[in-house]
């Protein structure tokens, strides 16, 4: 099995350990990894601002950079959702797009659906608050949504539950948005921060020690608020936990 790793720009620059954790998880599963250095960004910031003309060249780059990979895996639900659901608008009638879309996976869904991981060999004896990032949830359907009438499931939680000693926080609002939303975080700063603070309060009262998610962007926003408020809550990307990094 071969995987082309997609490490989104902000993870590359700001959270390299999340990328390395992803590499280590895949390596342990004996997956052949390729990291194409030409890659930078999926184009989401531009597309989400309505600047499709600026985003389209990045989508074309993406297609080219991952053309030869069997799978494309990324530790970011939001960027994968961009490829799977929004490249159609940027690359209309592109013959290579369907193949790219069907081989591109968010890390956790790749682990549950393709690799079908059965166990991890380490423990994580902490109470974890799982933030259900919206794009993973409502674009990629990596879990059931509180709005819909469907059987309850969560691919991320299903993976984390394989770690010994892990406990989960039960939240009052199980899947409300954290308020990051890309440029929304600065355009609508007041609403964005209030949304984030409300999420954090929910996790605090549920007893969360480690706040995690499959999207580092949500966590960047939440961590920014937590650090400003000097709260005692650790923030880790789910890849770091699955790779066995300690909660220090």
């Amino acid at each position: 099995m071969q995987v082309g790793l997609f490490i989104p720009c902000y993870i590359d620059q700001l959270y390299p350990q999340v990328g390395m954790a992803t590499v280590e998880i895949l390596e342990r599963l004996q997956i052949d990894i390729r990291f194409c250095e030409a890659q930078i960004c999926c184009g989401q910031p531009m597309a989400n601002t309505g600047c499709n003309d600026d985003a389209a060249p990045l989508a074309r780059d993406f297609l080219k950079n991952f053309a030869d990979d069997q799978y494309v895996v990324s530790p970011s639900g939001s960027c994968v959702a961009m490829v799977r659901h929004h490249y159609d608008h940027l690359l209309p009638d592109n013959a290579d797009l369907p193949a790219l879309k069907s081989k591109t996976f968010e890390l956790c869904e790749f682990l549950t659906d393709v690799v079908q991981v059965e166990q991890f060999d380490h423990a994580f004896p902490h109470q974890v608050g799982l933030h259900q990032s919206c794009h993973g949830l409502r674009e990629l359907r990596m879990g059931s949504c509180s709005e819909r009438v469907e059987p309850a499931f969560s691919k991320v939680r299903q993976l984390l539950a394989k770690l010994d000693g892990i406990r989960f926080s039960e939240l009052r609002r199980q899947d409300e948005c954290c308020g990051f939303g890309g440029t929304f975080a600065v355009n609508e700063e007041s609403v964005s921060c209030l949304m984030g603070l409300d999420r954090i309060a929910d996790h605090e009262s549920a007893g969360t020690e480690v706040l995690t998610a499959a999207d580092m962007s949500c966590l960047m926003h939440l961590q920014g608020l937590i650090r400003r408020q000097k709260k005692n809550m650790k923030v880790m990307h789910v890849a770091e936990i699955l790779a066995g990094y300690p909660a220090e």
Binding site: I7, I11, D12, Q13, L14, Y15, P16, V18, G19, M20, R34, F35, E37, A38, I40, G43, P45, M46, T49, G50, C51, N52, D54, A55, P57, L58, H85, H89, C134, R138, E139, C145, S146, E147, R148, V149, E150, E176, C177, G179, F180, G181, T183, F184, A185, V186, E188, E189, S190, V191, L194, M195, D198, M220, H221, Q223, G224, L225, R227, R228
Partner: protein, 458 residues
């Protein structure tokens, strides 16, 4: 008119008025009731899909169904009018009222008449128009627009209702008990109902095959308001049509459950022609709807049955209040409808959204709301209404993110410099991220550097 800046209005609601958390909880409570009601039906998702198909089918032959509805309603004794614009709608209403010498009108909740700004036109002609839905009466007495399409006074605290009732209805000063205030409104509005010369209602659903239409309320105000006076004027957008009577079963099951978590509204009245000796007028209004029908990306917004569920679930709406949108219909659906009509005036609304997608999943007629909001951002940009900073910022970002050397250079310089800059210079007034949040701590090396160190270039 100045363009609406949602972010500014939202900030005001949150920071100056301190209402956001209270408002958020009130609406989340409604959302939770809706969840419970939806969960009570195993077929919920099938119902949503069915409703969506019925609406899309109707849209695909809307002109035929409108003609069929007109013929059947006329056969039942109603008079059917057509209004291409809001002005024409108001003119028709006025003409009917003047023909009957009507001076006093009772009106039940109708977002369409809000959209057409009917009340000011009637009042200018010396006609008293009383909104009879309790929430609408409260906002009318306060001389402000509704802030929600189903819960018009959701932004108002009971003490404030007490104040306005004390002033206008003579309730005891300081009284704020909802039972007491509702009873006072009941007495006050009974007088209005009994004195009315005509009743105006909206329409929830109109049935092409029978010519009937349905109006849903919990209070009974549409019903009381049309069963006493000799004239009933029903105002409906052309998208309210459904083909068959049995389709009502689908929509009435979804509407109240989605709106308030009730299994059905208290009153679902089916009007099939005028009362004996009375007149029934139905006004079919376009006012921009046919143009939305022609835009494939936004057509499904015409599925909307005005349940308000997208507002109740929207984390932005809940924390910014309906008035921050500056439109008749606020929230996610309003942020599509308003800029579809006037992108210059409403360009900030599609950006008043974190793209969380909750609205899409809650919508009983499966409007792909958050995708339409995203598409609308592109339309705003194409129409030249994107603020320059955003526009050029994204252009520059596009340049950097396509040039590996530049991206790598800026990244490494940034990571080295940032820790050296004194904090006050970073956390300045221009840094919206840093107003309430810390910036991420900058690592010494990027992922690609670490990867290269470990594996070399491969």
């Amino acid at each position: 008119m100045h363009a609406i800046e949602h972010a500014k209005e939202a900030k005001e609601f949150i920071e100056s008025r301190g209402r956001a958390t209270w408002h958020d909880s009130a609406l989340w409570f409604v959302r939770a009731k809706r969840d419970k009601a939806a969960q009570s039906l195993p077929e919920w998702e099938i119902l949503r899909e069915t409703a969506s198909q019925i609406k899309q089918h109707t849209a695909s032959r809307l002109a035929d169904y409108l003609e069929k509805f007109e013929a059947n309603a006329t056969r039942l004794g109603a008079t059917v009018h057509w209004a291409a614009t809001a002005d024409e709608h108001n003119r028709i209403v006025m003409e009917i009222l003047q023909k009957h010498g009507a001076k006093k009108v009772v009106k039940s909740k109708s977002m369409l008449t809000e959209e057409c700004h009917l009340n000011p036109d009637l009042e200018a002609a010396g006609i008293e128009v009383v909104d009879t839905d309790l929430g609408e009466r409260i906002v009318q007495l306060r001389q402000e627009p509704p802030s929600h399409i189903v819960l018009p006074a959701i932004h108002i605290k009971k003490a404030e209702v007490g104040e306005v009732f004390h002033q206008h209805l003579g309730t005891d000063a300081g009284a704020d008990d909802p039972d007491y205030l509702t009873e006072a409104a009941r007495q006050h509005l009974r007088e209005k109902f009994c004195a009315a010369d005509a009743g105006i209602t909206g329409v929830n659903f109109a049935v092409a095959e029978t010519g009937e239409f349905v109006v849903c309320t919990n209070e009974g105000n549409a019903d009381l308001g049309t069963s006493l006076p000799p004239v009933h004027i029903a105002c409906m957008g052309i998208e309210k049509l459904i083909p068959r009577q049995k389709d009502l079963g689908v929509f009435l099951r979804l509407l109240a459950r989605s709106a308030t978590g009730q299994p059905i509204t208290t009153y679902s009245s089916h009007f099939r022609g005028p009362r004996s000796g009375c007149e029934l007028h139905i006004i079919l209004v376009d006012n921009g709807r046919s143009s939305i029908l022609g835009r494939e990306d936004f057509r499904r917004s015409l599925n909307c049955i005005r349940c308000g569920a997208c507002m109740n679930t929207c984390p932005v709406y809940r924390r910014s209040g309906g008035h921050s949108y500056g439109t008749t219909v606020p929230g996610p659906i309003g942020s599509i409808l308003a800029p579809a009509r006037d992108p210059g005036q409403h360009h900030s609304l599609p950006f008043a959204c974190s793209l969380c997608g909750s609205c899409t999943d809650v919508c009983p007629v499966k409007i792909d709301l958050h995708h339409q909001l995203l598409t609308m951002r592109g339309e705003v940009k194409k129409a030249g209404h994107l603020p320059a900073l955003k526009r050029w910022g994204m252009w520059a970002m596009g340049i950097v993110l396509r040039r590996n050397w530049l991206y790598g250079f800026l990244g490494s310089v940034g990571r080295k410099l940032l820790p050296l800059i004194p904090r006050p210079l970073i956390y300045n007034r221009m840094n919206m991220w840093g107003r309430q949040r810390e910036l991420p701590q900058t690592p010494a090396k990027s992922f690609r550097q670490l990867y290269r160190e470990r594996y070399g270039r491969k």
